[in-house]
């Protein structure tokens, strides 16, 4: 069974999800994990599907991209299935004046502390820049990491909080 990583991005319009999903369904590609959202007027999809060969999907998506409004990439990947958590889940929130390099600097601190960012989103609202990251941290490093995050945030002129993610109780 082939596993494919597909990205589609383009100027938002009604019907992008339906169009792409229809192409995949017609090829017998089973859409497994996906995330789709609108970012500043661009609709972006990242998805994993199983089924046909990459070339076949690429060819089937080509007509959608032909008008130049959508960009689609298809890549075969090695199926790993669900990866068990490598640590304790935390949420990092960063906010402050927008400037270059906030995501780079803050995530570097997380990585250097042994963390693994598993989910991240950013929002720019006026001059306010917000970064929210879910990160798995090795047991016992959070306190040390908080100090490092605060130092880096201070250099960037932004605020940071790191909190344990709420466990799902049910």
């Amino acid at each position: 069974m082939n596993e494919l990583a597909i990205t589609v991005i383009g100027r938002d319009r009604p019907g992008i999800v339906a169009d792409v999903a229809e192409v995949l369904a017609q090829l017998g590609a089973n859409l497994t994990d996906s995330t789709m959202t609108r970012l500043r007027g661009h609709f972006a999809m990242t998805l994993i599907c199983t089924g046909p060969a990459a070339a076949e999907v690429e060819a089937a998506l080509a007509p959608l991209a032909a008008e130049g409004q959508l960009l689609a990439t298809v890549r075969a990947v090695t199926p790993d299935g669900e990866v068990p958590p490598a640590g304790e889940p935390y949420v990092m929130a960063v906010h402050g004046s927008d400037r270059m390099g906030i995501v780079a600097a803050m995530t570097r601190v997380l990585v250097d502390g042994g963390g693994n960012v598993t989910d991240l989103s950013t929002r720019l609202a006026g001059s306010l820049y917000v970064v929210l990251a879910e990160v798995e941290l090795p047991a016992g490093v959070a306190d040390t990491l908080v100090d490092r995050l605060h130092r880096t945030a201070a250099e960037l002129g932004v605020e940071v909080t790191l909190r344990p993610a709420d466990p799902d109780l049910l």
Binding site: V91, A93, G96, D119, R123, L132, D166
Partner: protein, 194 residues
């Protein structure tokens, strides 16, 4: 010494009683609300003397500004650019409110009991373009001082008013709802402006 009767105990605290903003006597001025990223919103505010003239004026200004701001159910001094532990709350008439204490202002407020945590969507006048999902206690006990008399009060509340109080107490600690959202995808572009 920390023996019985030496510290603030439950008996030292009354409820809000007949307190209203009008008992401040001074009239409040509508002031500009500052938005993130403004440093005053990210710094822990200072304790205040609830009987000081400037605290009383600040309390009146908070109420006046809250009242002219559509949909505003609470406003903290840092949102007026003042690093003081003072905030106003009024959830009167809000469809989600159960317990309602009317309009009140608290100085140096702190949470003493918080239970029954529930997630809910929050916005903020200082973060006008975003909302976020935040878990807050839906049963809450807060202690603080009334501006003017300085009388210590204990407030027991729930639901929406409890959420508003926690949001404002956070402001006084230099925290925005953005610091408490549930995950990487728990912040949203605001769609509805009141």
């Amino acid at each position: 010494m920390t023996g019985p009767g030496s510290g603030p105990d439950a008996e030292a605290y009354a409820g809000l009683g007949d307190w209203t903003p009008e008992s401040l006597v001074v009239s409040g001025e509508v002031r500009a609300v500052v938005s993130a990223p403004h440093l005053v919103l990210s710094r822990a505010a200072d304790e205040v003397d609830p009987t000081a003239k400037e605290t009383v004026q600040l309390a009146a200004d908070l109420v006046a500004t809250m009242r002219v701001s559509p949909g505003c159910v609470g406003l903290a001094a840092p949102q007026l650019g003042v690093g003081a532990r003072v905030f106003a709350v009024d959830v009167t008439g809000h469809p989600k409110a159960v317990t309602v204490h009317g309009t009140f202002v608290l100085c140096n407020a702190r949470v003493v009991e918080a239970t029954r945590w529930k997630a809910g969507r929050e916005g903020c006048m200082s973060v006008p373009d975003l909302t976020g999902d935040v878990k807050r206690a839906s049963r809450l006990v807060v202690e603080g001082d009334l501006p003017g008399t300085g009388e210590p009060v204990r407030l027991v509340t729930d639901g929406f008013e409890a959420r508003a109080l926690q949001h404002e107490i956070d402001h006084c600690a230099g925290l925005l709802f953005l610091d408490r959202v549930a995950g990487a995808h728990a912040v949203y572009q605001r769609k509805v402006y009141l």
